[in-house]
């Protein structure tokens, strides 16, 4: 449940930053809504692969690093605060975070027409592996999980939460209103950053007490 809620809360950021990769692709393909839904499902499948890969990394991090730390709550509190500031910086500021999936031209050329369907899957994997602030916040929460099953479940529910915002994208009407929805998504991510600062302070305070 926590993963889903976290995903739901941070999904606005994904909408603001991942959708720009997907929207031009969908528009350039110029397909109908049904085809767009298929493309989105390819994209989301790739994204899920990326997330589950990170669940494994989170579990390994927990085993190797976190469990051996004496002041893990203090560190997690500080990490939360730092990432929340980053989220606010991108949400309220004008800077764009770098995304590994941004340049698709070369990839499209290499895949050719035969394997064209792979492009949304690869874009999905790349956005899934992207170290953006909400993703790092989720990762920070996941490293606290003790078992691999918990980590996978957390990232799966996080994925579902963040995907909620991307599912309506294939509908043409929404694509037309995208220029308005994007700043709303960005600012909402900034507001969520304010919440995480509080959450980080609470975690930090808890470690002191």
């Amino acid at each position: 449940m926590k993963g889903f809620l976290l995903g739901l809360a941070n999904g606005t950021f994904c909408f603001a930053y991942c959708a720009p990769i997907l929207v031009p692709y969908l528009l350039s393909e110029g397909k109908n809504v049904q085809r767009n839904f298929i493309t989105i499902s390819y994209f989301l499948s790739g994204r899920l692969i990326g997330y589950l890969a990170f669940a494994i990394v989170a579990w390994i991090t927990n085993l190797i690093v976190i469990q051996n730390l004496t002041s893990r709550t203090t560190i997690l509190g500080v990490v939360y605060i730092a990432l929340a500031v980053l989220l606010m910086f991108y949400g309220f500021g004008t800077k764009e975070p770098h995304c590994v999936a941004k340049s698709t031209k070369a990839l499209k050329k290499r895949l050719g027409i035969r394997h064209k369907y792979l492009l949304p899957v690869i874009l999905g994997v790349l956005t899934g592996l992207n170290l953006c602030p909400p993703f790092l916040l989720a990762f920070t929460t996941a490293v606290e999980k003790d078992s691999l099953r918990q980590c996978l479940l957390f990232f799966l529910t996080f994925f579902i939460g963040t995907s909620v915002y991307l599912i309506p994208l294939p509908t043409i009407g929404l694509l037309r209103r995208y220029d308005i929805l994007r700043p709303v998504g960005r600012l909402a991510a900034g507001v969520m950053g304010v919440y995480y600062i509080y959450f980080g302070f609470i975690t930090f305070q808890g470690s002191i007490h």
Binding site: L5, L8, A9, T12, I180, P183, V184, G185, R186, L187, A188, G190, V191, M192, Y195, Y198, Q205
Partner: protein, 390 residues
């Protein structure tokens, strides 16, 4: 027809015509203020009623006579908000002994419900069939049911006009936004006009996730002038610091500096939610492209950032327009006007204004009369007994 109405607007109406048009309001307000049960004999109750009656109807008369909307609306709107604060706090202190809301009050459902909570309760109510607010559904002062009915009625009638004609908080930052002669801060980045929608999105999500009204707990600036939770933990202390800071910043300081309604235009999630009601409401403000000389005075005067250069070109304000009438009054070429959807543009705009201001003013007058009467009563009580409480 067009020229006649243009000339009329410049001169205003004759006294007799204005009086005749005010008559319906005089009758309705007489019924509303007395509750249909005659006048009280106690001068402490009678005097506030008379003052409120004269003030409200006088405002409406001037609105009709001068054909100016915003100036008189604002006068009543700001008075209503100030009187709301006086009446609300006095009632709270009389009933509870302080403005502080205890856990006991909340568990007994004694928290007054306000419209700000509405966007937060919809999703949880649909999912869990529970209203996530510690108030009473039908009983007592400001029950959830009565507030919802009132809001629904106003939304159908006025759309986002609610924010300039009915909201009991809006008059506070409007009042402060009218203090300075000229704005000190002029350039505000357009992107911040999306912030209310972002806050709306976050509070709807977090309220659904936590099954608690997060805006009320963390962000509502108006808790500073209504009621707030008893400080019993560092978390509540932090919440108190946040809403007091937001009140000072968004309702007092920034409106003075910018001459705009910052809380309403750049923060209020309820306002953002209310914007969608403009889609189905029949009243709107339009800018006639044939008359418009692109002076952008409407852009500069709009208190809620609802008009920009692009919307002037399009001939209508953004979805966030609160129908306050400031642009209509300010337009030197009378290009901006109230309009009824489906009717031709630029024809009979005074009729359209009248058709709009009757229901709009009625909402403001009905909601404001109780507050104004209550506040005058408290002041009179203070003067005569040296205490505002019975």
């Amino acid at each position: 027809m067009l020229n006649n109405s243009t000339n009329e607007r410049g001169k205003g109406r004759s006294l007799i015509k204005a009086f005749l048009l005010t008559l319906p309001m005089l009758f309705i307000m007489a019924l509303m203020i007395t509750g249909g049960s005659g006048l009280p004999k106690d001068p402490l109750h009678l005097l506030p009623m008379i003052i409120a009656y004269i003030f409200i109807n006088g405002t409406f008369f001037l609105m009709i006579l001068t054909m100016k909307t915003d100036k008189y609306r604002s006068l009543l709107f700001v008075t209503y908000a100030l009187c709301f604060v006086i009446t609300f706090i006095s009632n709270l202190i009389e009933v509870r002994g302080s403005m502080v809301l205890t856990h006991e009050d909340m568990s007994q459902g004694h928290t007054p419900f306000c419209h700000m909570v509405i966007p937060m309760v919809i999703v949880p109510a649909a999912l869990t069939r529970t209203i996530i607010f510690p108030g009473s559904m039908l009983e007592g002062f400001a029950a959830i049911g009565s507030m919802l009915v009132l809001w629904l009625g106003a939304s159908i009638t006025l759309g986002k006009g609610w924010c300039s004609w009915a909201c009991f908080y809006g008059g506070l930052d409007e009042g402060f936004s009218r203090i300075a002669k000229r704005p000190i801060v002029k350039n505000i980045n357009k992107k911040w006009t999306y912030l209310p929608f972002a806050i709306l999105l976050v509070i709807v999500l977090t309220s659904a996730a936590t099954l608690a009204p997060t805006y009320c707990a963390w962000l509502c600036p108006f808790k500073a002038v209504t009621e707030f939770e008893e400080i019993s933990s560092s978390k509540i202390l932090l919440q108190t610091i946040i809403f007091f800071s937001l009140f000072v910043g968004l309702v007092i300081v920034l409106p003075i500096l910018t001459k705009r309604r910052i809380q309403c235009g750049l923060f209020c999630p309820m306002g953002a939610f209310q914007s969608f009601t403009n889609k189905f409401n029949i009243f709107e403000v339009r800018i006639d492209p044939e008359k418009c000389v692109q002076c952008n005075l409407c852009v500069k005067t709009c208190p809620t950032f609802s008009i920009d250069e692009e919307s002037v070109k399009k001939g209508k304000p953004k979805i966030t327009c609160t129908k306050c009438g400031k642009c209509v009054d300010a337009c030197p070429k009378e290009a901006a006007s109230f309009h009824i959807k489906g009717t031709p543009l630029g024809v009979n705009y005074e009729k359209a204004r009248l058709i709009f201001i009757y229901p709009a003013f009625l909402f403001l007058a009905i909601m404001g009369s109780g507050m104004i009467t209550g506040a005058i009563y408290r002041v009179l009580l203070l003067v005569t007994t040296e205490s505002m409480f019975k």
